[in-house]
C-alpha cells in the first residue's frame, strides 16, 4: 500500500510538528500580550502607580511596545522576548531581569512537577499491577481513595502542613493557647528548612486534584487494553515472550498521560509551592502579583506556556519515534 516511511518523511513530519509548536507559542504569547493591552486605563499607571519617574515610564513603554499599535507593539515585545529580554522587575525585586528571576524559579517548579508526575505514574502502575483486573471488593479500597483524592491539592497541602506540625508539636509540647485541647499548635519553622518542604509539596500534588486516581484508572485501562490486545494472543501463540511487547506498547499511552497531565500538575505546583514557601515560580508569581509587578507575572506566564508547548513537542517526537503510526495521525 503506502511506501514505508523513510527518514525523509519522518524528519519532514518533525519539522512540521516543530513549526506548529512555534505557531502556538506565537499565538499564545500574543494572547497574553493582548490581555495586557486591553487592561482598563493606562497600563503604565497600573504598573508604576502615579508616582513613577519619567524615565521608568519610558523604559516600560519601550519594553512593552506601548507606543505602537497592538500588532506592532507585539512584534517589538516578542522580538525582545525572543532574545531573552523579558524586561525588569519593578516592585517585587526592583531592577532585576525578569528572565533570570523566572528561569531560576521555573527550574524548581518544573522539577517538582516532573518528579511528582513520575512518582504518581510509578505508583499508579504498581497499584494497577498489584490489584490486577477490577473486582467488586476493590471498591472498598478504591472508593474512599478516589473520594479523598478529589480534594484540591492546596487543601491537601494545608492539611498536611498542619498534620505534620501536629506531630512535631506533640513532641515539643508548646505552651499557652486557646481553643479546644485536641487542636495542636503548628510551628511552621519546624518544617520550612530541610528537604521536607519539597517532599511535602510532592506528596500534596500527587494526592490532590484527583491526580493519582486519574493516573491509576488510565494506567489500569491501558494495561488491560494492551495485555488483552489480540496481538498479545498471537505473540503467546507463537511461543514468544509477551513482556517486551507489553512494555513497548505502554510507552506511548504513558507518554500521552504525561502530556495530558503536565499543565494541570504545573497549576497545582504553583499553589502548593506557595504554601510550603518553596522558592519556585508559584511563589514568585503570587508575591509579584500582590505588588502588581506586571513584567514578572507576564514573564512567569510565558515560561509556563513555553514549557507546556515544548514538553508536548518533545513527547510527540518521542512518540513518533516509538510508534510509526503517530506520523500518519497528525491532526
Amino acid at each position: 500500500m503506502s511506501r514505508p516511511l523513510g527518514l525523509g518523511a519522518m524528519s519532514l513530519w518533525a519539522l512540521r510538528r516543530a513549526a506548529r509548536s512555534l505557531a502556538l507559542l506565537v499565538g499564545a504569547s500574543f494572547l497574553v500580550y493582548a490581555t495586557l493591552r486591553t487592561a482598563p486605563g493606562n497600563m503604565v499607571d497600573l504598573v508604576l502607580g502615579l508616582n513613577g519617574t519619567e524615565e521608568a515610564r519610558a523604559t516600560l513603554r519601550a519594553e512593552f511596545g506601548l507606543d505602537s499599535g497592538v500588532l506592532l507593539g507585539y512584534a517589538r515585545w516578542a522580538a525582545r522576548a525572543a532574545t531573552g529580554d523579558l524586561g525588569r522587575s519593578i516592585t517585587f525585586s526592583p531592577g532585576e531581569g525578569v528572565a533570570e528571576l523566572a528561569l531560576g524559579a521555573f527550574a524548581v517548579t518544573l522539577g517538582l512537577a516532573l518528579v511528582s508526575l513520575l512518582l504518581s505514574v510509578t505508583f499508579a502502575y504498581a497499584l494497577a499491577v498489584a490489584l490486577g483486573r477490577p473486582q467488586p471488593r476493590q471498591g472498598l479500597l478504591l472508593g474512599p481513595l478516589s473520594f479523598l483524592n478529589a480534594a484540591p491539592s492546596f487543601v491537601v497541602a494545608v492539611c498536611l502542613a498542619h498534620g505534620i506540625n501536629a506531630l512535631i508539636h506533640l513532641q515539643l509540647q508548646g505552651g499557652g493557647r486557646v481553643g479546644p485541647s485536641w487542636y495542636p499548635i503548628p510551628t511552621y519553622q519546624s518544617i520550612s528548612d530541610s528537604l521536607a518542604p519539597f517532599s511535602f509539596a510532592m506528596i500534596s500534588i500527587s494526592l490532590g486534584d484527583g491526580l493519582f486516581m486519574d493516573l491509576f484508572n488510565a494506567v489500569r485501562a491501558e494495561l488491560r487494553a494492551v495485555s488483552g490486545a489480540q496481538f498479545m494472543s498471537a505473540v503467546r501463540a507463537k511461543g514468544a515472550r509477551t513482556r517486551p511487547h507489553i512494555v513497548k506498547n505502554l510507552v506511548v499511552p504513558t507518554l500521552s498521560l504525561f502530556t495530558a497531565r503536565l499543565p494541570l500538575v504545573l497549576s497545582a505546583v504553583v499553589v502548593v509551592e506557595y504554601i510550603f514557601t518553596l522558592d519556585g515560580s508559584g511563589y514568585l508569581l503570587f508575591e509579584a502579583a500582590k505588588v502588581r509587578d506586571v513584567p514578572v507575572v507576564v514573564g512567569v506566564s510565558l515560561f509556563f506556556i513555553a514549557a507546556v508547548i515544548l514538553m508536548n513537542l518533545i513527547l510527540d517526537l518521542v512518540k513518533a519515534k516509538v510508534d510509526p503510526r503517530e506520523v500518519a495521525r497528525v491532526e
Partner: protein
Amino acid sequence: MSAEMSAEMSAEMSGASVVRVEGLTVAFDTPAGRKTVVDGVSFDVSPGEVLGVLGESGSGKTMSTQSILGLVDGYPGVVGGAISLTHAGVTHALLADLPAHLYARRGVTQKRDRAWQRRSRAVMTPLWGQAVTAIFQNPRRSLDPLMTVGEQLVEALAAAAAKRGARPAAEALRAEALRWLERVQMVSPPRVFASYPHELSGGMCQRAMIAVALACKPTLLVADEPTTGLDATVRAQVVSLLRALVREESCAMLYISHDIREVLFLTDRVIVMRHGRVIERASTADLRAGVGERHPYTRSLLDASGLVERAAPAAPAAPAAPAAGALLLRARGLNKAFHGRDGGVTRAIDHVDVDLYRGEVVALIGESGSGKTTLGRALTRLLQLDSGDMTLGGEDLRALGGAPLRAARRGFQMIFQNQQANLHPSLSVREMLDESLRLHQPALSAQGRRERARALLARVGLGSHEERYVASLSGGEQRRVGLARILATSPALIVADEPTSGLDAAIKLQIIDLLSEVKGDDLTYLLISHDLGLVRKIATRVLVMLRGRVIEEMPIADLGARPHHPYTEKLLAAAELGDRELSLDAVSVEDVEAGARGCSYARVCPLARAQGLAARCAASPPPLAPHPRGGALACFGLRTDA
C-alpha cells in the same frame, strides 16, 4: 447414524491424534444467568489432518478456543470434559486435575481467574509455537503495531529455535524470514520485512500471520475465521495459500469458520456445531458429493452456499427479465475523486453512467475499495460529486438543495453498510419510527403514527419490538427495523449497501427474502453486494465495478453464462471457492495499481498478456460498449472476439 458415528469415533481413537477433545462443556456466567456455549463436544484431529468446525458466528467459538488454549487472560468457564494435545510423542492433558473450585463456584472471582491462568500458562507455555499455534480473525490486529513484520517473524523463528535448543545467527534468521515471506506470496519480501502492519493491507497481514504461525513448525494450527472481513479474491488467496502450505508442512489444522464454502475447500473432515452441540460429522468428500443423510441445518447451509444448486441439473429460473418499466434514475458521467493528505488522488467514481428502471433490482458488485459505496452515496445525494448529471423521475437531482432536497429524499432512501444500519443507539424503535413518520407524514395524529408504526413493523416481520433499543436487537432485527424506517417514507428507490454484511447465512437469506417481499412492483433496488449467491437470488441486472469504473453490465441470466471481463471472471472464481481450483496468484484490487491511465486491470490481466494487448490496455481506458449477447463490457481483449 449413531452406529456410523461411533464407528468413526473408534476409528479416530485408534490412531494417535494430535488433539483429542472429549465431552467438552464450556459455560459463561453472565448477569442473565449461565450460558452454555459448548455442550459436550468431542472430536479429534490426526497428524496432518484438517478438521473443519462449522458454526454460526458469535456463538463463542473464538472465546472458547482462545481461553482454552490459554491465549487470553481469564477463566474460560470450562465445566467439564478433557482435552489432550500430543506433541513429540508426549500427551499433555489440558484440563486434567483442575482444582475442584474452578468448576464449582458461580460468578467470576479473581481467585479462580488467577488459578486458571497460572495453571493454563504452566501447561501451555512449553506447547505454544511448537505443539500448537493459532491465527485469528482481524489480521491487522494480530500483529504488534509497533514492530515491523520482519521483526515479528524473526521473533517467532528465534522462539521456535530456542525451544529446540538452537541459537541461530541474526543473519540466518533474517534469511529464513525472507524465505517465509516469499512462500506466502509477498510481492516484495524485503519491503514487507521492513514494513509496519499498518502499512499493509488486511490480506497481506493475514499472509504474514500465516508465515509467523507456520514458521514455528507447529504440530497443530488452530485457524479461527482467518478470512473474516477480507474480500472475496483476497480470501481466496489466503485460503488457497493456507491449504497449500499446511499440506506442504504436513501440519494438522483445526479450521473454525462459519463459511461452508471455505470449510469444504480446505478440510478433510467437518463437524457442524449448533447451539453448542455437534449436530453433524462428515467427511468433506461426502458433503461435496451430497452423499448421505444430512441434518436440516447442514442442509440449509449447503443450500445457502449455492453449491448444491449448481450441482442440481436445473437451477431454479432466474428472476424474470426486467419488466422494462419507465426510466427512474439516469446518471451520466459521474466523477468523484478523494484527495489524500499525502497528495494522492483516489478516483472513487470515474466516468460512471447508470440507468435504473422502475421495478428493477440492480446489483452492484466489486471488491471493497472499488467505489460501490461512493457511487451509492452519490446517487442518493449524500456526497458532493465533482461532475456529472443525475435525474430522478425527470427531476434534476443535482440542482436540488436545502428544503426541496430534503423533501425529495423521501423518494430515494439508503440502507447503510454498517451493522447497526440506520438506527440511532439511544432511541427506541418506537421513538425512531415516530420521528420518521412525523417528518414524512405530518398529517398523521399521534395515534395514527402509532398505528402506522405497528403496521410497518408487522410488514418487516417484527412484533413486539417497539420499546427496544438498537443494542438489544440482533443483527437481523436491526436490519428489519432499518427497513421499516425506510418504508415509512414510501420511497421509489432504495440503495441497499451490503444489507446482509455481518449476518449469518440463514439470516442473510431471510433478509434477502424480506427485501424481495416488500419490493412489490414499483420499488427499485440498487443492491450493493459482493455476495454473488445473494445477487443471483434477487437481482435482475448486474453492474461490476473496478477501481471506480463500471467495467461490465449484464442481465442476471448472463452471469456465468457468457464470456466475461477478466476481472469479473476472477470474482466469480473467488466466490465459488469450492467449485474450482484457484490459481495461487489470485490478485485483489489492493494489488492493482491505483490511478492507472488505461484499464485498471492491465497490469495483472491474463487476457491482455495472452493477446499481446498490454500496451494498448495501459494507454487508454476501454469504453463500456454493448455486448452482442446483451449488457455491456469494457475490455479491449473481449470486444474483438465477441
